[in-house]
Amino acid sequence: MNLEKVVFGFFVLLAATLNFGFFIGDIGDPDLHNPYELFAALVVSLVATVLKFGDRTQIGAVHLATSLVADLQLGAAALAWTYAAHISVEGMTPAATASVVSLSGGALLANAVSVVLLVVETVTYHRR
């Protein structure tokens, strides 16, 4: 067992599950989407990105790219949430919530690709 692989798999999966947890639920209802979960998803996604630094394989490069996409989407979601909660006079309207959640939905897709890559990598790994 390789501890590095455990940590790597853990963070990739955790990023995807947290993202999914935040995304699930009625898209316009602010009560169903906890900002703490968004925060956790963003932090774990950042850590997963850094873990993918310095991998020279082709699959490693795609891993890094998907993570960067997820970071970008979650960062945009966090900005949208900040705008709605602090700057806009209307507060967390269903429309604002929907935009935050749909941005995180994009990140969820990227994270799903990451998980698929992880599974593919594991399946194609032959113990000799």
Binding site: V47, V50, T82, A85
Partner: protein, 600 residues
Amino acid sequence: MANPLLDFWLRLLGQETEDERRPSRLSRRLRRRIPRASEVQAEATIFLVLRRMRAPLIVLILIFAVSVFGLTLVPGQDPATGQPTRMTFFDAFYFMSYTASTIGFGELPHPFTAAQRLWVTVSIYLTVIGWAYAIGSLLSLLQDRAFRQALALQHFTRKVKRLREPFLLVVGHGRTGELLSRAFDELGKRVVVIDIDPERIESLELGSYHADVPGLVADARDPAHLGVAGLANPGCHAVLAITNDDEANLTVTMTAALLRPDLQVIARTTSASIAERMRAFGTPTVVDPFDRFGEHLGLGIRAPASYQLITWLESGPGATLPTRGHPPPDGRWVVCGYGRFGRELVADLQREGIEVTVVETRSEDTPGGVLGDGADPDVLERAGVADAAGFVAGVDNDASNLSMIAAARRLNPDVFVAARQNRPASSPLFAAMETDALLVPPELVAHEVYAQLSTPLLWRFVQEVPTRGDDWAAGVVDRLTELCGKRLAPLWKVRLDRSEAPALQDWLRSGEAPIGAVLRDPDERERRLDAVVLLVLRGDRCELTPDDDFVLEPDDELLLVGPPAARRGLDSTMLVEGSASYVRTGKRVATGWLWRKFQP
């Protein structure tokens, strides 16, 4: 080529003249054959650096996350209403950002409660540690030797790849390499340097070159390093293997001959067997300073003016006229030191018909010579220095050579002294000794290579000089000093073909174009251009220093020497119809097509 438009059309239509040696397009297969492994190595180092930054970055992210998260959980109080509040993620992130970066705007949005201050105290210490760790790791990585080398290699690779003009690949930047890089830089040619010693590459930055000289610290015996240095680049038009190491030179010669057979290779060696092995690969030009010195010394004894002319021309533009030596009287020579240098020299002297006495410390190496140390006056006396015509101090130690010369001069003040200088630092001492002939191997090699590469016809001229006799050479030296004084003017080559001299074609074909009439100032016909024609090459025949009545023909190649103004004058005669016809007939012809139509 002086006319850029002409150059453009020639390139477009692909009518390249053969002798221009334009870099031919390399076939794809050939290019793939040249390895460039070290580029991959450089990339690997950068990946390693990224990998090593993982831990500090993750620590930083986690510390930030924990601090921000904690701050949103700890209860605060709104002083206006007295209601308990909590910081939002935005407020917490904002606060942590300015606190962690030690900017410190204060307690926002409301003054903190004791519970909040407790948590902030903890997070301040955490974030300081996180930042210190991350920045410390980054700085130590930037100082890392492997990382810096990788960056330097990438920088070098990029510079060489971007070279679009023809360049020379100089392997070995010792004394010879430095002299050559400088001389070619003066001529406006680009140079790329490889050396195994980092100090020599650093000296590139201090040396004030006109153009940027890319330098790489690497072992040239590895073909991948030569590949990175531009062996695969179509602009590379010659490789100079001039390190101090014969075997490295051999390896470079082999690499170039096997991977780029079309390249001109010049290699330096002092060993005859290595020279043979080099010649087994393609057709490299091998320069052996010991061998060449023997020939030079022979020439210097026989024909001092020829020797003076050759040395002057080989020293490059701006060189001062070397003094003409006085040939020694006929007689026996004493050679001290019978190593590689001594053997070559004795063979050369015997070929000139000179009787030689050898002085050597090793008994098995002295056939009919004197056994002993040349610095010992008794030994020199036994060797008969007192009645010798010439004396050669040729061991590989400068102190011994100098003391030998002093001892020999005491026995025979009029003896002709030739010496070998081994270290550049000894040069003022040998200069003070005023030897009659001095071998400085790096300089000799540099001059030979320069003569072969700088101007295409110069080497041909230099090789023809010894066959013409000493009086002729003295005449040429007089003409050159009359033209440009004690400092040599630039040399250049022209070819009177349709692309380089389109305006002269009619005149040349008429068979009435003597040199004296062509070399006229295109602004003022009465004035002759200040240029001397050293050589005219027609097919395979060459005419040395033709006089003014020599009639030029189309496709002749000329080697000229003269100031830049003369070159510009000749260029405009060769290219501009109006100038050419003015020089030929004395009548001004309009240059434009329309004006020519109106002219009677």
